[in-house]
Symmetry: C2
Subunit: 201 residues, 2 copies
DNA sequence: GCGCACTGACTAAGCGCTTGCTTACCTTGC
DNA sequence: GCAAGGTAAGCAAGCGCTTAGTCAGTGCGC
């Protein structure tokens, strides 16, 4: 992969969607789903925030469910891509884990609203959509576990450490509040340190 | 507090509610809210699981919102009570934190469905109810921070450590699955260890 | 340059259904 | 006989989504 096309910092997630109403609606939906949750959000809320009439939404998306799926896919693929990219070119196994945890944490802080939607609304996905999203999610989990493995002897301990490390970042989706919370980079460094300490024998 | 009335292990949470339909409805609501989320759950779902007609619910609760409030109050008060009780009689500051984290984790594993409701449905509470619940929650957070404080120098670091320690347990509400996940006591010990390692200078 | 046919984005209105909750009535134990 | 606990039926409101139509922009024969 050419490093110039994959800067380790966040490229705008939404560039996967063509600029225009389709992207605008997705962003509006993230804001509303993040605030209220999927089921408490009406298509009228989303349309209003996107600056169009309730019916306008259906010109660009077949359903409210497709909006959630689109958002979830972009979000989970972005996490996976950044996780993979974060260790690129690093050979020291400890430094790889540190870089991974830092990036993973920063992503969840910067994109805390999107994070909330993709982490807490998986159960709101339709079965067919759920399968697709769960597959991406499994890849991310497997990658984190694989990076931790060389630093952890016991396989049972690896399982617990992998889920614990991810919990730190994922739970930020619940409490993170820009302005009140520390800056993403501060948390990224702090949480990466904490995970390194968890790994010390 | 008389130790015989506050065993450190889980007394049945639901004894706060008189046995009978009021308790049965609350338990049914926890199961349904936990599965689908508050807004995706209908009063018909709850009534059916509790074995009565849709209208029967309103003999015992004024509204669906009151059900959520009742559940949330019992849950948050139970967490706080067990947290406080867990350190009772322990003088060693390190052992107090270990006992606290172990208990906090076990509670969230054993009561993972209730945990999901009280942690993820706070935003679904009505404003007046929210105030009451948020106040209990703040007490729990303050207690955890106060117990960690003697072991952490820097105040900024305390803030991050307190939220990180709680995240480990709270996020279990998202992924814990009885049968597939380790036993509550195993996780309790493991997570208490992890927090102790996070605290090592 | 101009009229016309066509297209795609968008809206006002509203349909059919589900929702939380109410009403009127029934049953049972004391 | 009368609370207390329960139900069948249904109401008003709000939901996701559809329909029928407007309108600005575009391509094109002449």
């Amino acid at each position: 992969m050419d490093i110039s096309t994959t800067p380790n910092s966040t490229t705008d997630l939404w560039e996967l969607l063509p600029a225009g109403p389709r992207r605008g609606l997705a962003q509006a939906a993230v804001a509303e789903f993040g605030r209220r949750g999927f089921h408490a959000t009406t298509t009228r809320h989303i349309a209003e925030r996107a600056g169009m009439s309730p019916a306008g939404l259906y010109v660009h998306y077949a359903s409210k469910a497709e909006l959630l799926f689109t958002i979830s896919k972009i979000g989970h693929e972005s996490v996976l891509a950044e996780a993979l990219a974060s260790v690129d070119g690093i050979t020291d196994l400890t430094q790889r884990v540190r870089a991974l945890m830092r990036t993973f944490t920063i992503w969840h802080a910067v994109n805390h609203m999107l994070a909330r939607v993709i982490q807490y609304e998986m159960r709101s996905l339709e079965p067919a959509h759920y399968k697709v999203i769960a597959a991406i999610r499994r890849q991310t989990e497997a990658f984190v576990a694989a990076e931790l493995q060389p630093l952890v002897g016991d396989v049972e301990r690896l399982r617990i450490l992998a889920v614990a490390a991810m919990s730190l970042s994922i739970d930020m989706a619940r409490w993170y509040s820009p302005g009140k919370s520390p800056a993403p980079e501060v948390l990224g460094d702090a949480y990466a340190d904490l995970v390194m300490q968890m790994l010390r024998k």
